[in-house]
């Protein structure tokens, strides 16, 4: 079990600790000031930190002290109106829990590249190449004491000069070499360790939990409610919900469809949408009729045209235009028309949907569907909504939406497992005999080889079965925690 166990810092004199400049773990060399990814088993997200010290203790082995970076999701209640970029993280600063920890090497999983894009004078802005190749960027700090983000960088973070956190002028990696001056200033910070060491560093299992329980303005569920009550967010949420469930347009269509929804009265009310599907065939033909009688824009006409082209052509086109969305975690017995209905009722978007066929390789509990939207914006909005919220289906599954990506098939080379045998004197008959479909007889070489393939096929079948069983167990375990019963 990997645990980000906090090691209590004793006074420097009582314990012999050696500081190193690098440590090797799992075949990877981690240097001081490297950015690393730490992972704790069972958690959903990894943590990013910057190694500020490598300690070699006589009893507990090597440990790394890191200053944390926060992901936007961890501090989403304190972001306010700030919209972070997709790979943006926040450097911890200030005083308090969550700034830094000392961790065992078990939790370290990999290195990553982080660049600072702040316009602070002390920071060297990264080149375009560095920006592109960086895993994460940061330009703000998050003060763990004041729970605020700020574009201003203080002079010292955790007693270390902030220049250590900015980019250096080195061309490639942003790893500070021990011989450079920043390292010397780090040494100063080192001497301040006893002062820092007296800060309360308790056992931390999960950084998010620290934020949750310890801090006064916690990101607990209560905290969310508080935030929701604070006016601004409620209105935003209201607008979102109303956009989703506007019934005016759909009621115009002549269908046997009832959409009931209750407005957000209290912060604890659920939104419910019940869709009764009667006679889906008739519905789909009605849909086509209605679409035909709608105002004839070019978009409508091209939409109709798209319904005629076969799916093999529609999918790559949609992917190029950015209108392709992949919905996962559906009930595999749903049909394409049901998906279209569902999307229409929830998001009020007319789409074309296609359920993907189940193969022995797909887990029997999961169904997937490709959905083509009318516009890229519509597709993106829906993906965002599905991501941020949880849309639950009948049997307690949240729908997962993501941008649809098609994999391109490779150039056809010879199929694995089929051979070309060219013997010198092979008659025409013999050659065609190989090519036609046939059952192999027991006394041929072919039979032996075929049996080996059979063996492999059976093995792989069992692999998949085992994997699916494990996955089902995991799903059921989680579902037990669900309290709602739809």
């Amino acid at each position: 079990m990997k645990m980000l166990v906090e090691v209590p810092q004793k006074e420097n004199g009582k314990r012999k600790v050696h500081s190193s400049e690098y440590v090797t773990y799992d075949g990877v060399v981690y240097n001081l000031h490297d950015y690393v990814i730490l992972y704790q088993h069972g958690k959903t997200e990894t943590y990013i930190g910057k190694i500020i010290e490598i300690i070699d203790t006589p009893h507990s082995g090597k440990q790394v002290k890191v200053v944390w970076f926060f992901r936007p999701s961890e501090i989403r209640n304190y972001l306010g109106d700030y919209k972070p970029r997709w790979n943006e993280i926040f450097l911890a600063s200030g005083d308090g829990q969550g700034l830094s920890n000392t961790n065992l090497l078990d939790g370290v999983t990999a290195k990553c590249t982080v660049v600072c894009t702040s316009k602070d004078k002390r920071n060297h802005l990264p080149s375009k190449k560095q920006l592109r190749s960086a895993d994460y960027i940061f330009r703000c700090t998050f003060d763990v004491g004041k729970l605020k983000i700020s574009r201003k960088f203080p002079n010292k973070i955790y007693g270390i000069k902030v220049e250590n956190f900015f980019n250096t002028r080195t061309g490639g990696h942003l790893r500070l070499m021990p011989t450079q001056t920043p390292h010397l200033s780090y040494r100063e910070g080192n001497s301040k360790k006893p002062q820092v060491g007296t800060a309360t560093l308790t056992k931390v299992h999960c950084l998010a939990n620290v934020n949750l329980s310890a801090m006064p303005k916690s990101i607990s569920l209560d905290g969310v409610q508080e935030k929701m009550h604070s006016g601004l967010s409620v209105q935003r949420a209201k607008r979102l919900f109303l956009e989703n469930f506007s019934s005016s347009e759909s009621l115009k269509l002549e269908r046997m469809k009832k959409i009931r929804f209750s407005e957000v009265e209290t912060a604890t009310a659920h939104q419910r949408v019940e869709v009764m599907l009667e006679a889906p065939n008739e519905v789909s033909s009605q849909v086509e009729q209605d679409q035909a009688t709608n105002r004839e824009n070019d978009t409508e006409r091209s939409w109709l045209k798209k319904m005629i082209t076969p799916w093999e052509e529609r999918l790559p086109e949609a992917e190029k235009e950015g209108t392709l969305v992949l919905l996962e975690n559906l009930d595999p017995t749903y049909s394409s028309s049901e998906i279209e209905e569902m999307v229409l009722s929830v998001f009020n978007e007319r789409v074309q949907a296609k359920m993907m066929a189940q193969t022995p390789f797909s887990c029997p509990l999961y169904g997937k569907a490709f959905v083509i939207f009318k516009s890229k914006d519509a597709a993106n909005t829906v993906i965002c909504k599905l991501d941020r919220g949880c849309l639950m289906l009948t049997d307690q599954r949240p729908v997962v939406g993501s941008a649809g990506i098609l994999k391109k098939p490779e150039e056809s080379k010879l199929f694995t497992g089929h051979y070309e045998i060219r013997m010198k004197r092979q008659t025409e008959d013999e050659r065609t005999a190989v090519a036609t479909a046939h059952c192999s007889q027991k006394n041929t070489l072919e039979y032996g080889m075929a049996m080996k393939w059979r063996l492999l096929q059976e093995k792989t079948r069992r692999w998949w079965k085992q994997l699916h069983e494990n996955q089902m167990k995991e799903i059921l375990e989680l579902k037990k925690q669900l309290k709602i019963n739809i």
Binding site: E328, T333, C390, K407, S412, G417, E446, R454, L456, Q457
Partner: protein
């Protein structure tokens, strides 16, 4: 109205019973090959390939083959494909077959009378956290599945290479024997060692 849907669904189910799912097919196999190949045993009515959107590369293709009656479908699975290694358009990788299931048809009609209820969870709801975890689990499982797929492909390729090597060795051996027989050197050696002709 409801009955139309039900009728269509019933017809669909009947079709499913008559269809077999066959995979480990080479990408070069097309409809006519399948029809002819399986046509030796049963009457094939329709062949539909399952398009491969999520797994890339040259993986085995799969198809749904609709035959005349459901008995034929069962027969061909039991007596032909399971009993002997059946090969289509290339040796020696045999194909596999099993009875089709409803979910394998991507153009299936909806189950009549089914209600889908949808609900947006409020972030305040404790179930929201669980649902988040479920969503993450979905993605994790997808990653696991694609990893497993990769493993499987690698294992298949390994086996193929092994067999190719073995084939080559065998072929060389046979060619050697052929060559020796051709230029009568075998017989010469036989007379030298006083070995009977028949025993060569």
């Amino acid at each position: 109205m409801a009955s139309i849907a039900e009728k269509e669904y019933d017809a669909f189910q009947e079709r499913v019973r008559r269809t077999i799912y066959i995979d480990n097919l080479s990408p070069q196999v097309n409809e006519s090959v399948l029809k002819k190949g399986l046509g030796q045993y049963v009457t094939v009515k329709d062949v539909r390939f399952i398009p491969n959107y999520s797994e890339p590369k040259n993986t085995a293709r799969c198809a749904l083959v609709e035959v005349e009656t459901s008995e034929q479908a069962q027969e061909i699975i039991k007596d032909v494909i399971d009993a002997y290694p059946f090969m289509i358009l290339g040796i020696p990788r045999p194909v596999r077959a099993r009875p089709a299931e409803e979910e394998m048809f991507d153009d299936r009609p909806a189950k009549p009378g089914r209600r889908i209820e949808l609900q947006w969870l409020h972030p305040n709801d404790p179930d929201f956290q669980v649902a988040w975890k479920l969503k993450r689990l979905v993605k994790k499982h997808a990653a696991e599945a694609s990893f497993m797929m990769k493993q499987q492909l690698e294992a298949e390729e390994k086996l193929a290479k092994q067999q190719e090597e073995m084939l080559k060795v065998n072929k060389e051996k046979l060619m050697l024997i052929d060559g020796v027989m051709d230029d009568k050197s075998a017989f010469r050696l036989a007379s030298y060692y006083n070995v009977n002709d028949a025993e060569i």
